[in-house]
């Protein structure tokens, strides 16, 4: 396992997106980036995953062990990126096949069982529900055995109850990896994160999270209190932005 540090200013085109980032994602823990849409969360996800985009980092993305992140990051996005023409086993083993390595079919079947899709191996993604598709994508992340996992709004498109179940499943199966969770849902952040930051135009501020172990019970008083505090901070932030936005008059 390895920790990841991200420092510096993030630019989109010629405009600064977020300045003064100093994020340390602890090894083997879940770190969360919480913030409203358009604040640059997904850009940070793409940056860490090494995916191309119009962004530019003035600063450094470093790992604690000094090795490159290339090939050591798996990603679960809101859109599960499944191949519609392939069955579930083929979908889970696509990484090995794309690299020209022998796919481990037995492991793929075992992982499909672990994510709760035993007996559906021969199905195609079109025959699955949204939650089941994310389970396939999760199995595909697990088979890669990457030390760093980026979850970019992974459960945003799911209904509330399915989302809670997927959060529990991901927390259990990704335990011990360096997970970077990107979300706009305060409850998701409070349930899953060991540490986290609230992202805004001004930069990143640390989140105050309960001390209990994750995944936290969504009925527990400390979970709900933390969720309420985060919601209030997000709300305050959005009020400030709204007041600023229409006014671009010179100072």
């Amino acid at each position: 396992m390895t920790g990841v540090q991200l420092q510096g200013d993030l630019w989109i085109g010629g405009a600064p997106l977020i300045r003064g980032l100093a994020l340390g994602f602890a090894a083997g823990r879940w770190s969360c980036l919480l913030g409203p849409s358009g604040v640059g969360k997904s850009t940070i996800a793409r940056l860490i995953a090494g995916l191309p985009g119009p962004y530019r980092l003035e600063g450094a993305l470093a790992t604690a062990d000094g090795q490159s992140l290339a090939g050591r990051v798996a990603m679960l996005a809101q859109e599960p990126q499944l191949l519609p023409w392939a069955d579930l086993v083929q979908n889970v083993t696509i990484g090995a096949r794309l690299r020209g390595v022998r796919p481990d079919i037995a492991r793929a079947r075992a992982l499909l069982g672990e994510v709760g899709l035993a007996g559906m191996e021969a199905r195609h993604p079109a025959a699955l529900s949204g939650g089941q598709r994310q389970r396939v994508a999760l199995a595909r992340v697990l088979i890669e055995e990457c030390p760093v996992v980026v979850l970019d709004e992974p459960f945003s498109a799911l209904d509330t109850v399915t989302r809670l179940a997927m959060q529990d499943l991901a927390a259990r199966l990704l335990r011990g990896r360096t997970v970077i969770l990107i979300t706009h849902d305060p409850l998701e952040a409070v349930r899953l994160a060991d540490q986290g930051w609230l992202l805004g135009r001004g930069g990143a501020e640390p989140l105050d999270l309960p001390a209990s172990p994750t995944p936290r019970d969504f009925r527990a008083a400390d979970t709900l209190a933390a969720q309420a505090r985060l919601l209030a901070r997000l709300h305050d932030q959005s009020l400030k932005t709204d007041r600023k936005e229409p006014c671009h008059a010179p100072h």
């Binding site: 995953a49 090494g50 995916l51 191309p52 290339a70 090939g71 990051v73 798996a74 990603m75 996005a77 859109e79 990126q81 191949l83 519609p84 023409w85 392939a86 696509i94 990484g95 096949r97 794309l98 690299r99 020209g100 890669e144």
Partner: protein
Amino acid sequence: MRRIGAGLAAPLLALGLWQALVVLTALPPFILPGPGRVASSLWANAPLLWEQAQFTAVNLLSGLAAGVALGVATALNLALSPGARLLLRPMLIFAQAVPVFALAPVLTLWLGYGAASKVVIVMLVVYFPVTSAFFDGLMRLPSPLADLAQLMRATPLRRLLLLQVPHALPALGSGLRLAVVYAPFAVVIGEWVGSSRGLGYLMLMANGRGQTDLMFAALVVLVAQSLILFALLEAIAARWGRAV
């Protein structure tokens, strides 16, 4: 049963209009023969038509197969190699602007009156729609799948074969549909320009001798060939569709 009835309605209406036109205008049979006369010519000349149709069909299928194979190979090569894109794409666009039918006389001059010139004309006519449709499909990999390839450190060849090709199959299907529509035109033009065999040659001869009913009979056989080809393609496409 109802569908078959609906399918028959249009051809029957067309035949009725044709017969009505013949009766009403009282045109002589060497200008416009009626459906009955054409049918009896079909029957009377069946051995001749069958022989000429075989020649035409073999050229049509060979040219189609060669054009599709060459088009698919070109598209794959273009998708895989930026260098090839840089060199070949302007050439392809230029070549597409050349009306291939206009090349038919030159091809006949170079390749003779035999099958070769017809096969090459069909191949050229088929090549461009197949290449450009398949290539477009290959280059339009949705960005989530492109991200997936990058995250999984796919090799370029495996990215092509495992992601781009399956995603581009419907696009290839549209290219093939165009190809199957153009190919019969091309083979007939090849035979018109210079040939001693084939349905196109037969039509030209029959026309010159005032055997308009035979010309129409040859046309009917040609249309039947095209329809069979199209039905075959649709059957293959439906099969792919099920596999997807």
